[in-house]
Amino acid sequence: GAGVSQSPSNKVTEKGKDVELRCDPISGHTALYWYRQSLGQGLEFLIYFQGNSAPDKSGLPSDRFSAERTGGSVSTLTIQRTQQEDSAVYLCASSRSTANTEAFFGQGTRLTVV
C-alpha cells in the first residue's frame, strides 16, 4: 500500500484479555516505531525496530507488552492481560532508514479496555 496501515482501527476488549495490534509499514522502510497516545497527550514511545538489529524496547511500560517484526516488514504489538489503563490510541510509524528519519504514521488503533 501507499501508506502505513494499522488494524484494527478500533478494538474493545474485556479486562484480562490479550490483544494483538498489527502494523503494515511502507514497503522498503527499515525503521518501525510503536507509540501510545492517551487522550489529549503527546506520543509515548514504546518500541523501535531498525533493520535486523535488536529492537529498542526501552519504552515498553511492563512485561505485559511485547512486539515483534517478522521478515523486516509487518509488526504486531501484543498486550497480555489488558488493564483499563492500557486504553489509548496505539500509533505505528515507519521511516526509510536511520539516515532518512522522516516518519509516516498510520491512523492508529483505538484500544478500549472495559
Binding site: Q50, L91, T98, T101, E102
Partner: protein, 110 residues
C-alpha cells in the same frame, strides 16, 4: 527530562493572531522535523529543516532551525481554526532513533 522540550504545552488563541512554538534541546541534531496531528489522525510531517539557520515557509507557517542546530521554532501568521491541532517536533541525534518532543496543543477559536 525530555531530549526535545517544546513550549508552550498549550496555546489557545483567537483567529487572526500570530503565535510561535519552540523546540529546544541541549543536543545537536543533523535535522529536525515538525509534524501536525489532527483529532483522530496520525501525525503528518510538515517540514524538515537541515541546515543551521535555515528558514522554511509553508504558506502561513514559518520554520526556523537554530544556528547551532539545537533548537527550532514554528511561527504561524494569522492563525485559522484549521490550524488547530497538536504540533510535534522530532529529531534523531547522531543517527539514533527518532525522538519526539512533548507537543504543543494549539486551539484557534473563530
Amino acid at each position: 527530562t525530555q531530549l526535545l522540550e517544546q513550549s508552550p504545552q498549550f496555546l489557545s488563541i483567537q483567529e487572526g493572531e500570530n503565535l510561535t512554538v519552540y523546540c529546544n534541546s541541549s543536543s545537536v541534531f543533523s535535522s529536525l522535523q515538525w509534524y501536525r496531528q489532527e483529532p483522530g489522525e496520525g501525525p503528518v510531517l510538515l517540514v524538515t529543516v537541515v541546515t543551521g539557520g535555515e528558514v522554511k515557509k509553508l504558506k502561513r507557517l514559518t520554520f526556523q532551525f537554530g544556528d547551532a542546530r539545537k533548537d527550532s521554532s514554528l511561527h504561524i501568521t494569522a492563525a485559522q481554526p484549521g490550524d488547530t491541532g497538536l504540533y510535534l517536533c522530532a529529531g534523531a541525534p547522531a543517527g539514533n532513533m527518532l525522538t519526539f518532543g512533548g507537543g504543543t496543543r494549539l486551539m484557534v477559536k473563530p
